[in-house]
């Protein structure tokens, strides 16, 4: 598998404060890679090192197999968390300026801007000043400016902040579309549901160290504890059945709804032998649902960070 970005033992200190200690990462080509971690974990520092805004004290970073060099700037698109635009500059002029700084020619930049303005329904804003736009509108411009030079690697730091749900969805679709076209994407966020939705790989940073990384599905598998959620529709009172089940299986929690005669419970199956359980259950009651409980990214995040903090 090709890697768009490889970091080897990257460390960075600010005075006595350690921002990154010995971080190694491999980011596969053409995937969405979630860079997660609580505030102050070192995500922004790592992203800034990739963008060559700061330089590591030690360790090396490779982009597409080459050691990071100034000309790589044109192949990276970066949407920082702390972002903004010149307030008194006109939208079109500003976008052109930023695109030219990324190495696009003026005519090419103009052509692509018109395409994107059309695509994201930003028709007649060209001559408006940023201060006349709403925050969400400005965020759209900011997004366009980030992707305009068609970078191989896109880095989004909290890309959805400042968007209403409809536009956030639109941006999400655009990100997926970019991925489909072959772009590799690093995605840093606190919003775990979007991690779940978008990321194939994640790395978890905590207190300047990497505590977890890999394919999201594999991590989830590693974190699952053979627990199943079961819903049963009964005819009579559930108390006796519950007693029965408790004797046979490891029941974690259960609730019984008297009106609906609905029994919900979770049970652990260390041997993962589901067929025997299902057979038994369906003989006793109507099975509404039977589902393995896979930990969410959020659960994993909180669980790992807490266990490290203790």
């Amino acid at each position: 598998m090709n890697h768009i970005l490889v970091a080897e033992n990257v460390s960075k200190n600010f005075g006595r404060h350690t921002a990154l200690s010995n971080i190694s990462l491999k980011i596969p080509e053409n995937c969405i890679y979630g860079l997660l971690g609580p505030n102050g974990a070192g995500k922004t520092t790592l992203i800034r090192i990739i963008n060559q805004i700061t330089h590591p004290d030690s360790g090396r970073v490779f982009l597409n197999g080459e050691p990071l060099a100034p000309h790589h700037i044109a192949t990276i698109g970066y949407l920082p968390e702390e972002r903004g635009l010149y307030k008194s500059m006109k939208v079109g002029e500003q976008a052109l300026y930023l695109a030219q700084l990324k190495g696009l020619s003026k005519t090419e930049a103009k052509k692509r801007l018109y395409y994107w303005f059309d695509r994201l329904e930003i028709g007649n804003w060209w001559n408006k000043k940023i201060q006349e736009l709403s925050k969400g509108m400005a965020q759209k411009i900011q997004f366009i400016v980030t992707v305009l030079h068609e970078p191989k690697l896109l880095i989004f730091d909290e890309p959805f902040s400042g968007f209403d749900p409809i536009n956030a969805n639109k941006i999400k679709d655009e990100i997926l579309e970019l991925k489909k076209k072959g772009t590799s994407i690093i995605f840093s966020t606190h919003r775990m549901e979007s991690v779940e939705e978008l990321c194939e790989y994640i790395a978890l940073l905590h207190k300047s160290e990497k505590i977890l990384d890999g394919k999201l599905s594999e991590i989830k598998n590693a974190y699952k504890n053979h627990t199943y959620a079961v819903g049963l529709q009964l005819n009579e009172n559930g108390a006796s059945l519950l007693e029965d089940l408790k004797a046979k299986f490891a029941i974690n929690e259960s609730t019984f709804n008297d009106d609906e005669k609905q029994l919900d419970l979770t049970l652990r199956l260390p041997n993962e032998d589901t067929s025997a359980v299902l057979n038994y259950l369906s003989s006793k009651a109507n099975v509404n649902h039977f589902q393995e409980m896979i930990p969410s990214a959020n659960d994993i995040f909180i669980q790992t960070v807490n266990s490290k903090s203790q």
Partner: protein, 445 residues
């Protein structure tokens, strides 16, 4: 197109299109010319005021001492008591009453003479009256020594020492001041430019920080490129503004003076007139040969050297200061936090101007003048004030100019390195109140 060029163009346009900049550019010349015209007008008004002093002379002296001049005339009271004279003076509304009582001799008379006025008298009037008495007393003492009044009139002689260099070139008075004045104008220009446009650079950096665009930009260009582009772009805008100012101010000045029917030379001569006392009202016009000398001396000022060194000192001095301004802008979150850092920058500039106007004017090659023209933070201003005196013999020794420029270049490199470092770290720092200690730490990041 190179990134630096893009940045310079953007910074230039952002500055030039700014509304307040446009307003300032076109309003300032009007204000400036308005001020000059107003001053000229007021001076003219002032000069036209004719003051009248009433004189009550009870003594036997000073009977023929009071001659009317352009701005001061006298009315002598005869046979009035002091009280009557006072009342009449008040009734007539003249400027004041000079009371000379009767005493035994001239000295006693002079000593008991009083000038009564409504408010404390202006120095012009006092000076003239003092002169009358001084003259009369001198005359009387000389008479006691046997000099007649006629002889005394002959003794009166204005004298000015003629000076020349050993090469036999005749020196003319005031040329040192004029030379220093020309250098001073250049130095002052540099100071104003640094303060105004350095401030612009700083505010532009703060704007990028507060609008949070900075991280977007420096993911495309190096922070140093951005800083340099900003400084150059802003100074180009400044040069544009200065050019417009000088051009439009001179046109406006010319037009308005023409309209007001004032000749250009009324402005300087007015001030000279007011200080001339009537005893030495003898013709102060320089002779033709003197005028020629002035012109020759003026042409002898090493203009090429002056303009070249102005450019060198201007560029280096401005870059040093504006990069410090940029670093300050990067270190703070808003403009109110800048005060503590601004003062230490303004200090050497002010010092340079004061040292220039006091020490260089009195002695362009004294130790203070030399010291400050070598010290890099003041040399752009002070050295320029010394340079109109020439280079080499009789002027600034060549080694001093070389040392001064070398020191300036070394400082320039050091300060720009230092400022770029602060800038690079500072632009990404939010919410930290910068102290000098914090800034020192940033140098190691």
């Amino acid at each position: 197109m190179s990134k630096l060029k893009l940045i310079i163009i953007r910074e230039y346009l952002a500055k030039v299109r700014n509304k307040s900049f446009v307003v300032m550019t076109f309003l300032s010349p009007i204000l400036m010319v308005g001020m000059i015209v107003l001053i000229a007008y007021l001076t003219k008004l002032n000069d036209n005021e004719k003051r009248i002093i009433t004189v009550l002379n009870e003594s036997d002296y000073f009977s023929n001492s009071f001659y009317a001049s352009e701005s001061l005339s006298y009315i002598e009271f005869k046979n009035l008591s002091f009280e009557e004279a006072k009342d009449s003076t008040l009734a007539m509304g003249t400027y004041g009453l000079l009371y000379i009582p009767k005493r035994d001799d001239l000295e006693a008379t002079a000593n008991s003479t009083f000038l009564y006025t409504k408010e404390s008298p202006v120095s012009l009037v006092l000076q003239r009256l003092d002169n009358i008495f001084q003259n009369r007393l001198r005359q009387s003492r000389l008479q006691q020594l046997g000099v007649t009044a006629k002889d005394f009139a002959n003794i009166e002689q204005d004298f000015e020492l003629s000076t020349a260099t050993f090469e036999g070139q005749k020196n003319i008075k005031g040329i040192n001041e004029i030379k220093a004045g020309i250098g001073g104008a250049f130095g002052y220009l540099i100071m104003m430019f640094i303060i105004i446009y350095g401030g612009f650079v700083m505010r532009s950096v703060i704007e990028e920080k507060t609008s949070r665009i900075i991280e977007v930009i420096i993911s495309s260009v190096k922070p140093f490129q951005l800083m340099l582009g900003k400084i150059i772009g802003t100074s180009l805008a400044g040069i544009t503004q200065f050019a417009i100012w000088i051009l439009s101010a001179s046109i406006l000045l010319f037009v308005s003076l023409w309209i007001l029917d004032m000749e250009m030379d009324t402005i300087p001569t007015n001030s000279m007139l007011t200080t001339t006392t009537f005893t030495n009202m003898t013709n102060a016009q320089p002779e033709v040969s003197d005028l020629e000398l002035y012109t020759a001396e003026f042409l002898k000022i090493p203009w090429v050297l002056l303009v070249c060194s102005f450019l060198v000192y201007f560029v280096l001095g401005y870059l040093i200061y504006s990069s410090i301004y940029a670093a300050i802008g990067a270190a703070v979150d808003n403009e109110t936090d800048t005060q503590q850092f601004i003062f230490p920058i303004i200090l050497p500039l002010m010092l340079a101007i004061y040292v220039g106007f006091f020490s260089v004017f009195s002695n362009p090659h004294g130790p203070i003048a030399v010291g400050f023209s070598l010290f890099p933070l003041t040399s752009p201003i002070v050295m320029l004030m010394r340079l109109p005196g020439g280079l080499g013999e009789g002027g600034v020794p060549i080694w001093q100019l070389l040392v001064s420029i070398t020191l300036l270049i070394i400082t320039f490199l050091g300060i720009v390195w230092f400022a770029a470092k602060i800038y690079r770290v500072g632009i990404l720092m939010y919410g930290k109140k910068p102290t000098y200690r914090e800034l020192y730490k940033w140098l190691n990041y």
